[in-house]
């Protein structure tokens, strides 16, 4: 039965346009205790690097008004561990698997991309926009020339459709988006976190051990929506929109701005049912408004 919610991105068809934002949902195992993972269009997992990364010192989290700062620093057990433990787990479910990859250097990016080339996963998301690692990450994601070069180099090793995840910390997001596409991105995802800070005025020090962290949640949504709108009008590849999405109304705003799909991140912390409630909400909206396919409203904002 066709629900009208099927969404095809770079040749991969999701049953609905909702995935999880990398790093907020682990590999699904933990949230699987509370929600039915089969409901999700796709699961985007926590960033995986070639070798295990220890991550940043704690405290790594700070709550802000309607937002969250994190400085996890891409702690992960490395690609080998992931492939042995998480892919078999995820394949039990009827959902697409998107693996988010990261590296400190270009060769690390290439190595991890290559390692996943032979793996049973559906899409690869290249994180060149993480603000929480010293080398690589953000520095790779802000200069359009570097972006194009990095994407092109990594692309060479990638066998699955390649999503490139963009940083919002740039003067002109459309320039970076075009660079990623000309480097070979099959799809784009945005936005990663903005960098933010919070200070404990009683202890007179930043809450985060790393002082500065990535800012996510409802507080970044207006910026995210604007950037998704701009990028959708600048490139021809599909866009996965994210940044503060917490309700189906939020998700629909991104879809109307032109997003092919959406990812839910920080909202999971506020409401572990957020993803499934968003899917149900979109379905209800479609029914009430007699929309038989999301195509009817996607990108309706010109």
């Amino acid at each position: 039965m066709n629900s009208g919610m099927e969404t095809t991105i770079a040749g991969v068809t999701w049953k609905n346009p909702v995935t999880t934002a990398s790093g907020t949902f682990g590999s699904g195992r933990e949230y699987g205790e509370l929600i039915d993972l089969n409901r999700l269009g796709a699961i985007t997992v926590k960033g995986v690097s070639e070798e295990a990364w220890k991550g940043n010192p704690v405290p790594r989290l700070a709550e802000t008004q309607s937002g969250l700062l994190n400085s996890i620093g891409l702690q992960n057990a490395g690609a080998k561990h992931f492939i042995e433990n998480d892919i078999p787990f995820l394949r039990q479910y009827d959902t697409k698997i998107i693996v988010n990859i990261c590296g400190h250097t270009l060769s690390q990016y290439c190595a991890v991309a290559e390692r996943f080339a032979g793996c049973d996963i559906d899409m690869l998301e290249l994180n060149i926009s993480c603000p929480n690692v010293e080398e690589g990450g953000l520095s790779f994601g802000t200069d359009p020339h570097v972006v194009e070069r990095v994407v092109k180099a990594v692309r060479h090793y990638v066998k699955q459709p390649l999503i490139v995840k963009l940083s919002p910390e740039v003067t002109d997001i459309t320039e970076v988006a075009r660079a990623a596409v000309s480097g070979g991105a099959d799809a784009l995802s945005l936005i990663n976190t903005l960098r933010g800070m919070k200070i404990d005025i009683h202890k007179r020090r930043p809450i985060l051990a790393s002082k500065i962290g990535g800012y996510s949640g409802p507080g970044i949504m207006p910026v995210a929506l604007r950037m998704v709108y701009e990028v959708c009008h600048s490139v021809d590849v599909p866009v996965i929109g994210m940044g503060g999405i917490s309700t189906f109304e939020d998700a629909l705003q991104f879809i109307m701005a032109g997003a092919q799909a959406v990812a839910v991140g920080t909202a999971n912390f506020h409401n572990p049912y957020a993803t499934v409630e968003i899917i149900d909400g979109i379905r209800k909206y479609m029914k009430e408004n007699r929309i038989s396919s999301l195509e009817e409203i996607r990108g309706c904002i010109d």
Partner: protein, 255 residues
């Protein structure tokens, strides 16, 4: 298995200034909860996105009780909850304490707000158990432990009540050899008790705190440095999922 639900407040009282005891009707959570586990309680003001982790202080058939100190925005809001108000909660979370073999000489060591989370554990022990409670100033909930018929020793740093000193002093004065220590309290206290336990070759379980987002083990926000025996280096484990109870010897304390 943990549940996310909306729970009604059954009881709520300020037990000493700034410290509240709240009982929530949450049969699903109560059913599987174990001593040392915690819940995530969501502040009613939705500007506060994150739930607050609070350790279970007691567990009954249909309800769970936590004791908390008002320290910031979230706990302030909790303190305004009235009986019959509804509040979002997730739990039970974390590993909880590992119960020792029967016959082990248990020593329960609590400091300040680390005391209430030990009550449900103490309830499971009927003998061979000494309870050492340390307060900065005036004591609270000591009678809950005494009522269990256990041997309770109290210390206060101010000397206002019980022994003038810390729980470490009480530990030093123990007459029986400890078989297993269960400790909860400020990090500084847990560290010194763990050092003492190491020196005396006594196994110890400590309950730790760290800032949390998901509370489920998914976000890796709540790292604690752990080095397991035989491992070459420490790595960050998750307080929410791998803990909050860790073996005191395995915690890398020096930060």
């Amino acid at each position: 298995m943990s549940t996310y639900c909306t729970a009604a407040v059954i009881n709520h009282e300020e037990i000493i200034p700034g410290v509240w005891k709240i009982e929530l009707s949450a049969p699903e959570i109560a059913k599987t909860a174990r001593p040392g586990q915690f819940i995530q309680l969501y502040p009613p003001d939705e500007r506060n996105l994150l739930a607050r982790p609070l350790s279970l202080s007691s567990i009954s058939k249909e309800s769970v009780t936590v004791v908390y100190r008002v320290v910031g925005q979230g706990t302030k809001q909790f303190s305004c909850l009235q009986v019959d108000d509804m509040v979002r909660v997730m739990g039970p979370l974390g590993n909880g304490f590992t119960l020792p073999d029967a016959g082990t000489q248990n020593v329960i060591v609590g400091g300040g707000l680390g005391i209430p989370p030990l009550l449900e554990l103490a309830k499971r022990f009927h003998e061979n158990t000494v309870v050492l409670l340390g307060y900065r100033d005036d004591p609270f909930m000591a009678e809950d432990f005494q009522r269990l018929g256990l041997e309770v020793h109290i210390a206060s740093q101010s000397g206002n009540y019980g022994f003038h000193g810390t729980v470490l002093d009480l530990l030093e004065n123990l007459t029986l050899p400890a078989g297993m220590i269960f400790a909860c309290g400020p990090r500084q206290m847990l560290q010194s008790v763990s050092m003492w336990a190491k020196g005396h070759n006594v196994p110890i379980q400590v309950s730790l705190e760290e800032r949390m987002a998901c509370g489920l083990g998914a976000c890796l926000g709540c790292g604690v440095k752990i080095q397991k025996p035989g491992e070459q280096d420490w790595r960050y484990l998750r307080v929410c999922k791998d803990g909050p109870v860790f073996s005191g010897e395995e915690v890398v304390w020096n930060e």
